[in-house]
Amino acid sequence: MRLTAIPGEWIDRSTEVEFQFEGNTYRGYRGDTISSALWCAEVRLLGRSFKYHRPRGILSLANHDINALMQAGQRLNVRADVEPLAAQQQLTSVNTFGGLQADSGRWLNHLAKFLPVGFYYKAFHTKALFPLWERLFRRLTGLGKLDFDTPHLRTPKDYDFCDVLVIGAGASGLNAALAAADAGAEVVIVDENARAGGSAAYQRGGKADSYTQINALLNSVVKHPRIRLFTSTVAAAYYADHWIPLVDEQKMTKMRAGSVIVATGVFEQPAVFHNNDLPGVMLASAAQRLIYRYAVQPMQSAVVLTANADGYRAALDLAAQGVNVAALIDMRSDHQQVELAAAVQACGINIFHAHCILEAEATADGNGVAAAIICPFDADGNADAASTMRIPCDGIVMSVGWAPTANLLYQAGTRMRFADDVQQFVPENLPEGVFACGRVNGVYDTVHKLMDGARAGRDAAAYLGYGSAGNAVTIVETESPSHAWPVVAHPKGKNFIDFDEDLQLKDFENAVQEGFDNIELLKRYTTVGMGPSQGKHSNMNALRILARLTGKSPGQVGTTTARPFFHPVPLSHLAGRGFSPERLTPLHHQHVQLGAVFMPAGVWQRPEYYAQAGLTRTECIRGEVACVRNQVGIIDVGTLGKIEIYGPDAVEFLERVYISRYANLKVGMTRYAIMCDESGVIIDDGVVARLGEQHFYFTTTTSGAAPIYRELTRLNTLWQLDCGLVNLTGAMAAVNLAGPKAAEVLAPLTELDLSLAEFPYMGIREASVAGIPARLMRVGFVGELGYEIHVPAAYADALWQALWQSGQPQGLRAFGVEAQRLLRLEKGHIIIGQDTDGLTTPLQANLNWALKMDKAFFIGQRSLQIVAQQALQQKLTGFVLDAGYNGTVPQECHLIIEQGDIAGRITSIAWSPSLQRHIGLAFVRPDLAVENGAIAIRLSDGSMVEARIHPTPFYDPKNIRQQHPAQELAA
């Protein structure tokens, strides 16, 4: 029933909203939540519980429970208690079989005694039965129905900054925000509710004072130039250095605050008695929210169960709105609230002291409350079930205690202590820059809350240098707002602690009896607090029960770990944009024009091969290979790391980081370079070129470019040598022009003398190519005459076009990474990371020729000394398949088997057009690595292929082709 207009109500009576629930049409007002509109329409059955499919209605109306979990079209698990009503919504309850009313899952309620705590652990002992259980539970479990056609939602991510972030816009939070802003801080205050004000707006005690007061406070906050107020915004987590995700309907805002005030208040906790989950049994705060936010009458005739002053105020609120309060049951024998009690009695409400509700009697259909059965309750928490009394009512209102909304405080690393005077965990030791005030801090009285808020506001501002800290005041509550034992045993059970997981008192007793008597174990065994509401309404009672059963105090029992997020956050809010950065070389569009098929190489996109009309991938690659071997090819090698080093100690630096010697490298010459880590494992290779006595230019692998440069700068910092490094990876473009006709392509474009005497193999020259300043290196990676030409990136296009034009008479073609891999394999040149792994030393990779152990020092040297004394475990060796082999070709990583044992593995394998057979590199046991020796390779299907050890290079073993310029070769 809708009440007459109430000051401060959230509904807009001028706008009606029509919606459907379980096939029936209802009307509410704009500003209603789904639950408030349904409750107003006298709908009491809002959902079914997870395990026993019990009828459920409103419990907290505050997102602290999930009784009313609904599906709205493609949106799953909508929380009806807090979800704003939207027009034409089609809502259904989740977790039912055949609709909410007729739910055939109800029979599970009668099987409760066969579903004991720890059921899964007990049921799944027989492996053979597991498929049966799995089928059963897959059908029974899961909430909501996923629509696989749901569109991909993109939500923006926002970044924001403030001095002081206040979380919770109740009395203490608002006052904290004012105090901090008055001190000069820029303040943001957030509240998850649609409107600010907190409990003061609805815990009115039948009067308007608290609402008027909070409204005035809210007005001064809204008007303050240094305060921004965000409602319907959840502070979802706490991350290091005051980094708070603020989640609203549209987006997530990553808020970086200078300091944080947690004024998040408390969760009201249910009393535990038989049938305490019936629709109509609700928390007092839920009843008050129904009244003051949505002007909905919670019930017609109520029994109020309480153990604090809040319950008395709730009774007054109900009475003021025309609800017949049949009785007020106070679990305590006495209290300090004389005036409140007098006001309650003045309304004609009977007060029973030292009594409890033993059970809620269900209506005939089982979907509502018919009466409260009460009985005496002694100071030790024992109910006298023999002397009961029946009080007819259609609703029960519970106000027996609170638990702190300390989730973010725990996440921030706050040490909490259990305060006996308020029966609540309160912050004992807060992290730097984190402050707490109000009820989460154990402060309940209205005046005290304002004082505490002002103190926290001044402290948080002073932490950032605004104003001075507040005076620490000791605030003592006159009585505890929470009962130490709001739990009533009942022989028939069904006295629920966790409403998400349908956990009853006896489940905890059994779990403890079975030895799960530590809070973390108890949680995992019973699953308490593991449901969607994450223990907001259940953890406190669970730990009280554990404390009582184990004879400890709640403080000794402690709490479980609080983790993000505070409320579930939609994945669409969390998902990023799929941002995976790629680097393109300055020649990228040239490759595109030539039909390149690209492949990722580290962060780079490189041409794998150039597609040609009517040719397969393999044909294209073989064509590129043939072109390099017979005419001339060009490959973009701009992805290589390119570093320049200059200074008196440049030589010394290179001597220390590479395993070869560079002190004797002549100016104008290059040398292969292998880098090891401290354990002597190969991590990178490249070419070092000497441009001057104190000036070198060197390359790293494509994937090593960034990390190797970074590590070299660290080493330069550590060693404090007199030299400087410059990373030219992006600044320089590079191509390798290779093939017997390479010199003929290059010669017309440069004045450089390309003769062997003037520009020998492994030489470097600085010259102009097609008018572009260039560094040219005579390299032999692919085994033909080759010029690696490095130019500033801006000239890359011009260079490519000049070479391309000059090369057309010679049949120049571009070749990709795949062709290069084959060409280098024919030469037996290794690729770091493919032919080496995280344990490969130069000794194993046949690189002894490069290893200068007699140098004073290089990284890995000392480790290699030790390794050299040990027997070699494996050796990188060439192998070939029989020339006529036409079976399944082995692949990289296939194993070499010797007498049933693993004796090695393949690292590279490919068809060699030059040798007309498959060739490869493999790690093999040294005793097997004898020329022409037979090795057996095991294919994926288990069959064996024979191969023979073959020396490298496979092609041009004397390396004649790469050393001599073509014209001299021809001569």
Binding site: A240, W243, R710, Q720, F857, S863, I866
Partner: protein, 91 residues
Amino acid sequence: MKILTCPINGARPISEFTYGGEYRAMPDPQTASDVVWADYVFNRNGAPSVKLEWWCHTPSTTWFIAERDTARDVVIRSFLFDEMNTQGGAA
């Protein structure tokens, strides 16, 4: 997200930094026994304590030392390696 202070670029989010491991003095390779050397190469002390660590501000490639209490994950101070002799000592 944590904030780390680079001695050159100031306070920046941790995503701008690369961790370079604990600062550990290398034993003299000439005199160290195989056991001492292997311990240096392979073993790391993960016990929570105040440690000197290498950090690099990635966009500017600025290496520096941060003194961090790994138990509390709090950076006590950060300084350039040049100041190791005047600032350091703990190593």
